[in-house]
């Protein structure tokens, strides 16, 4: 069984982004970029499945600019066998990414797609579900446990109020949540080895997908700032403020 792991190059999760003064977006010049943290968990899970003998090959894929090659090398340094870059400079929205990924999944003949539940830049939480719909495959979102069986996958999902376990027939799409696993760090020898692993580049146009954005961003603004508060001396003062000033208790 081949597993496809889509990975996204995003602003590093430690960076506090700034909105551009002209309100057209956030300032990404000279900002540290990294693999979307949820996708790191997805790569780890796929690699563990291969190490456990449940998968034959792990293929990482990314859609976007040339620099996304770095993200793919990172995926290969933690164990992906090879990588595919769907290269485009166009603005890609989740529906377009899902269409590109469908084309790659079909070309590669994969049985399972594992990806992060959301990207920490646009916070859309859409791509996996859309890909699953386009492929006509079942989906398991927000996975905290994945068990691959005979022609099926059993997934425990994080839902409101607790956990839910569902069984899907393969092929299927799984989106991963934070508590699925602890991704490993890439060792230096593995980073060196990853440089020699195959990385194929396709142009988005070759896949025959219309990637035109459906949503137009009219403006991007800073959220309203909260006024600074006060540090109080003791609990009694807190109680009186909450009662008499804020009137919330």
């Amino acid at each position: 069984m081949k597993i496809l792991v889509p990975v996204k190059r995003v602003v590093d999760f430690n960076v506090k982004v700034r909105v551009k003064a002209d309100g057209t977006g956030v300032d990404l010049a000279n900002v540290k970029m990294a693999m979307n943290p949820f996708d790191e968990i997805a790569v780890e899970e796929a690699v563990r499945l291969r190490e456990g003998g449940l998968a034959s090959e792990v293929i990482a894929v990314s859609c976007g600019v040339t620099a996304a090659q770095d993200t793919l090398r990172t995926a290969m340094a933690v164990g992906a066998d090879r990588a595919v870059l769907v290269e485009t400079d166009a603005e890609l929205q989740p529906l377009a990414v899902a269409k590109l990924l469908r084309a790659v999944a079909e070309r590669e003949g994969v049985q399972l797609v594992v990806l992060g539940k959301q990207a920490i830049d646009d916070d859309a939480n859409q791509t996996g579900q859309m890909l699953s719909a386009l492929l006509g495959w079942p989906q398991a979102t927000f996975a905290s446990k994945v068990v691959v069986g005979d022609n099926k996958v059993t997934v425990t999902r994080e839902i409101d109020g607790g956990l839910e376990t569902i069984e899907l027939s393969l092929p299927a799409v799984v989106t991963v949540d934070l508590r699925l696993n602890e991704p490993r760090f890439a060792s230096l020898p593995n980073i060196m080895k990853a440089k020699k692993k195959p990385l194929d580049t396709l142009k988005a146009e070759e896949l025959g997908v219309d990637v035109a954005p459906r949503l137009k961003t009219l403006s991007v603004a800073e959220p309203p700032k909260r006024a600074g508060g006060v540090i109080l001396a003791n609990v009694a003062e807190l109680v009186s403020r909450l009662r008499d000033e804020a009137k919330v208790i």
């Binding site: 994080e158 409101d160 956990l163 069984e167 508060g229 909450l242």
Partner: protein
């Protein structure tokens, strides 16, 4: 304009998140229908009919919808959605799972997790963990929107008298099935719409300490319990208590953060709260920059004192 709101329910009762989505629908304007898709869900449909401002309740009732798994649900909802200008669902685990699948089947974009309606085609949504707010316009014929519940009041219920009618069923694809659900039973209010939230962080140090320190205060205040990612990862509380970018976004009247430093991913889920109280031993913790009231000191002394004085 005609709007279809996808109800979240357990076949018996409508979940309150649905009411927040109805309020967003009212702000868009136009006729509002609710679809209740389930198995033996007549009770939930009857409840939906009482929500103020709803014209019709459309019921898709069949055994293969009982567990409301996305595959069977999306295919029939996409078919129904085609005649509407908007489809709305709350941005809960249910809505996040289902919405994009319906959108892709309709070949339309989804506008995720909106916090404001600017016009029928223009919405505001947080990006980058809430560090920026994007105003986006959709040109799709059907606008599929998920609604951040904390950003819209619950629509009043009880006064409505919508028509309840059956709608056609779709196929049972047979590709997914529910094995089990482990849902926590709690007498506390739901985190998503509680008036008061008491949240604990890593500084509590253990699950026992979390229960011993946070719970009595929450009991006194009739509050829901939340947590930082660190506290959830450490196993102090179940995953669905997580407040933040990838957990729940809450906006209670009072949010008390105990032993939470205030990583941007946590702040993303709670800075819309009306009044924020932070209790932390580190005076430089970022949580104090968003708190109205702060107490610097040992939470194991301060929180029991607070509990005792309420």
């Amino acid at each position: 304009m005609s709007i279809l709101v996808i109800a979240e329910h357990d076949n018996q009762h409508i979940k309150s998140a649905t009411l927040n989505a109805v309020t967003a629908a009212k702000q868009i304007g136009g006729d509002i229908d609710i679809v209740v898709l389930g198995g033996d869900c007549a009770a939930a449909a009857a409840e939906a009919a009482k929500i103020d401002g709803v014209a019709r309740v459309r019921v898709i009732d069949a055994a293969h919808y009982k567990d409301q798994l996305a595959e069977n649900a999306a295919i029939i909802l996409a078919q129904m959605a085609g005649t509407y200008t908007h489809v709305l669902v709350a941005a809960t685990a249910f809505g996040k799972n289902l919405g994009p699948r319906v959108a892709a089947l309709l070949d339309v974009a989804q506008v995720s997790d909106i916090v404001a309606v600017k016009s029928p085609d223009t919405f505001v949504r947080p990006i980058y963990a809430g560090n920026a707010l994007a105003t986006v316009q959709s040109s799709d014929p059907v606008k599929l929107v998920t609604v951040r519940t904390a950003a819209f009041d619950a629509a009043p219920t009880g006064g409505g008298s919508a028509v309840v009618e059956n709608a056609p069923q779709g196929p049972d694809l047979g590709v997914s099935k529910l094995v089990s659900r482990e849902l926590a039973v709690s007498a506390r209010p739901e985190l998503g719409n509680a008036r008061v939230v008491v949240s604990g962080g890593r500084a509590l140090g253990s699950a026992d300490a979390f229960h011993a320190v946070v719970e009595p205060l929450a009991d006194k205040l009739g509050a829901a319990i939340g947590a930082s990612r660190a506290a959830v990862d450490a196993g102090y509380v179940p995953n669905d208590a997580q407040v933040g970018q990838t957990g729940k976004a809450v906006a209670p009247e009072l949010y008390i953060a105990i032993g939470i430093s205030g990583a941007i991913q946590h702040l993303a889920g709670m800075t819309e709260s009306k009044v924020i109280v932070a209790i932390n031993k580190d005076p430089d913790a970022p949580i104090f920059q968003v708190a109205n009231y702060g107490l610097v000191g040992d939470l194991f002394e301060l929180v029991p004192q607070l509990t005792a004085s309420l």
